[in-house]
């Protein structure tokens, strides 16, 4: 269809292309007074509505952080639940301003899908979960030859699964569903032997099964799944704001700035902290981004630093109890490294 279309209207379209300069997302967002944030339809720890319909999780909190940076108020954000299939179109079409939906950063998504990834808010890897009670003796993914594996469609998970079994010359039986809830239900009812998705997800899903204690997550990690928020390509200012919000969260943790002590820290004489919190005389790092100078203060007041966000949503302070692991700061042997604000 588009071939014909391109042939018929190509010339006319090219003439118009010149005028199609992108209106800045920051201006649009400021004008409407809130950020529209695309999240998942419900993945515990990342983005899931609670009983009152408030979105909880690390992905939801990241959007609040961006809202705090822009408006000084973390509540100026509206959430759009999206399925795996819809997420990219929603961002491309401008329905949402930022996609914060446990999305894996891949080259194809950067190049062919028109996405611009902000960073990696959670280093994940794909794993397997099995029912240890029904399958005693299975303690490695390499023993899964011939198994029926539940997986969600339209994800990188589905592709990794195919690659992994092919590489190890094992047979398997894919059982593919569109929605997370459906995969959960099918796995819980015994339709599959194993469940595969990002390991963080497996821990969250385990809690929703009818007898969580029976299920174990196998040790193998079969892929790299750097999860992070993404914005539309071609709007550098907006991408910078999102990216530096993420770095600010990391830097705040590194500097020991927390939600509780951020006001005291404003009086700190450490130049690093001063630059970060915008208390340095005639520093204008916030203003250069198109924000206010106390943007980091606002972020930390709204959601805390990266460590606090992590612990509250997926770490020790949450039912998921996931260890920091490679998501620890670089100073503690992890991969999270925030370039300096200066």
């Amino acid at each position: 269809m588009k071939h014909i279309a391109l042939g018929m209207f190509g010339a006319a379209a090219l003439g118009l292309m010149a005028s199609a300069a992108s209106a800045g997302t920051l201006d649009t967002v400021k004008q409407k007074g809130f950020i529209q944030c695309g999240v998942s339809t419900g993945l515990a720890g990342f983005s899931a509505p609670d009983d009152k319909g408030d979105w909880k999780g690390i992905d939801a909190d990241f959007c609040r952080a961006v809202a705090a940076a822009v408006f000084g108020d973390g509540s100026k954000v509206k959430f759009t639940p999206l399925s795996a299939k819809e997420r990219f179109t929603a961002l491309q079409s401008g329905e949402i301003d930022i996609l914060s939906r446990n999305t894996t950063w891949t080259s194809n998504r950067d190049s062919a899908l028109g996405l611009d990834f902000v960073g990696v808010t959670y280093y994940d890897g794909q794993g397997f979960m099995i029912n240890a009670k029904k399958l005693p003796g299975v303690n490695s993914a390499l023993q899964l030859s011939g198994a029926a594996v539940c997986v969600q469609s339209g994800t990188t998970t589905e592709l990794n699964l195919a690659d992994y079994f092919k590489k190890n010359k094992m047979e398997y039986n894919p059982v593919v569903f569109e929605k997370l809830e459906e995969v959960n239900a099918a796995y819980d009812s015994g339709r599959c032997d194993a469940y595969t998705t990002d390991q963080s997800g497996l821990y969250g899903i385990r809690l929703t099964l009818s007898s969580p204690a029976d299920h174990v997550v196998l040790p193998e990690i079969i892929s790299k799944e750097p999860l992070g928020p993404a914005v539309r390509q071609g709007d550098d200012q907006w991408a910078h704001i999102a990216r530096w919000t993420y770095f600010a969260l990391l830097n705040a943790e590194e500097a020991g700035i927390t939600q509780a002590n951020v006001d005291e820290m404003k009086t700190s004489t450490d130049p690093n902290i001063q630059r970060l919190l915008g208390t340095e005389p005639d520093g204008k790092y916030g203003a250069d981004l198109g924000l206010s100078n106390d943007w980091v203060v606002n972020i930390i007041k709204a959601v805390g630093n990266y460590g606090e966000m992590f612990e509250r949503n997926v770490g020790a302070g949450s039912p998921l109890k996931i260890a920091r692991g490679i998501n620890a700061l670089w100073t503690k042997g992890g991969l999270q490294y925030g370039p300096p604000v200066r």
Partner: protein, 395 residues
């Protein structure tokens, strides 16, 4: 309309703008202009959006490696196959489930429909309750019910039900031995085709003879003999070139044999039972629509109740039944797209995955629409032929 014909004869009457011909021309030109402008606007927007977002376009992606696996593959497919092949697999799955569903729904629907007209009060009531329940809940819910029901009732693979002929039934589906044809099996196929052709020929001649002389010929049993007998003969002559591959228990599942997955099973059952409720009502209306005088007249001619039903009532009822039956078949085919909710890889599900992996939404949705349109058109065309034949019987 009539009015315009009259007016056309007196063109001089009334003012220029009241001339219906001019008006029609004006309206249609307006419609065409509006249409073209909006198409131009949409296409322009699409092109602009795609270029701005650096999204690839065109159908080249169909030749790229798919990279994902599909659970039900009627034709050979691996993750190394192309997106195009993945879509074909999805299309075939849609056709398979729709065809099987149409057959099953027709059978169940006729049984229930006739049951609603039964002399027996209890049967009548049971059939009414069935129809009223299934007609009034969404098909998606029926599918969920069957799926969770099927999974809840059946045992895990290690405690499978053992059925006769080496078949098994468990949560992973229904397993039965698969025939493996050896050398010389082509003979059986040839015999089958020859049998079919001969049966058709016999039926044709018998009809001609009956038309000419009124003598009847046992067409049915001759045909059965030809269609079944010839292949059996060929099978024996070729030295019985058939072995069976029996399903065997392995670590996780049964391997070998032929497997019908629970997704397919529950989708098939749900679609057929849902559609059967509508077909039952159509059948009931059809049978009630044949006037009682017809069967009484047939009885007066000395026909027994069997032939009355077969030769008088059903042919006339079918005339009433077929057009709405066609639209139910179309509905069933379209409802098979709900497979996506329980993970049966039909066209919508695979196209959805392809669309998501490549990001080419416009092409994906376009292909999907074309495929369903073609399926619908083919089904209507086939049913129109059937309808035409039925109408001929009426003379």
């Amino acid at each position: 309309m009539a009015s315009q014909e009259i007016l056309r004869q007196e063109p001089g009457r009334g003012s220029f703008i009241n001339d219906p011909k001019i008006r029609a021309l004006f309206f249609q030109t307006l419609v065409v202009i509006v249409l073209f402008v909006s198409i131009w606007w949409i296409v322009n927007n699409v092109i602009e959006n795609l270029q701005r977002l650096h999204i690839a376009s065109g159908f080249q992606f169909l030749r790229n490696r798919a990279g994902f696996d599909i659970s039900d593959t009627p034709i050979a497919y691996t993750s190394d196959a192309t997106y195009g092949r993945a879509l074909i697999v999805g299309l075939l799955n849609t056709i398979i489930v729709a065809a099987a569903g149409i057959v099953l729904a027709t059978i169940v629907g006729f049984i229930i429909g006739i049951g609603r007209l039964s002399q027996n009060w209890l049967i009548r009531k049971i059939c009414t309750v069935y129809v009223e329940i299934f007609r009034n809940i969404p098909p998606l819910l029926v599918i969920f019910f069957w799926y969770s029901g099927v999974l809840a009732v059946l045992p895990p693979p290690r405690e499978s039900y053992h059925l006769p002929f080496g078949s098994f039934l468990n949560q992973r589906g229904f397993y039965f031995p698969r025939g493996v044809w050896g050398d010389g099996s082509w003979l059986v196929l040839v015999a089958f085709v020859v049998g079919l052709a001969m049966a058709w020929f016999v039926a044709h001649r018998a009809r001609q003879r009956q038309m000419a002389t009124g003598q009847q010929f046992p067409v049915f049993w001759t045909s059965v003999g030809l269609i079944v007998g010839l292949p059996v003969l060929a099978f024996l002559l070729a030295g019985m070139p058939l072995t069976f591959d029996f399903p065997k228990q392995s670590t996780f599942n049964l391997t070998g044999g032929f497997q019908i997955k629970p997704e397919f099973l529950s989708l098939l059952l749900a679609l057929s039972f849902y559609t059967a409720a509508f077909i039952a009502e159509i059948v009931r209306a059809g049978i009630k629509g044949v006037s009682k005088g017809q069967s009484e007249a047939a009885a007066a001619l000395g026909l027994r109740s069997g032939p009355i039903l077969r030769l008088v009532v059903i042919p006339q009822a079918m005339r009433i039944v077929i057009p709405p039956l066609t639209s139910q078949y179309l509905n069933l085919t379209k409802n098979s797209s709900l497979a996506i909710a329980i993970g049966y890889p039909d066209l919508t599900a695979t196209a959805g995955t392809v669309l998501n992996q490549t990001g080419q939404a416009v092409e994906g949705v376009f292909l999907m629409m074309i495929a369903y349109l073609v399926l619908s058109l083919v089904t209507s065309a086939v049913m129109n032929v059937v309808n035409a034949r039925m109408a001929l019987v009426e003379r």
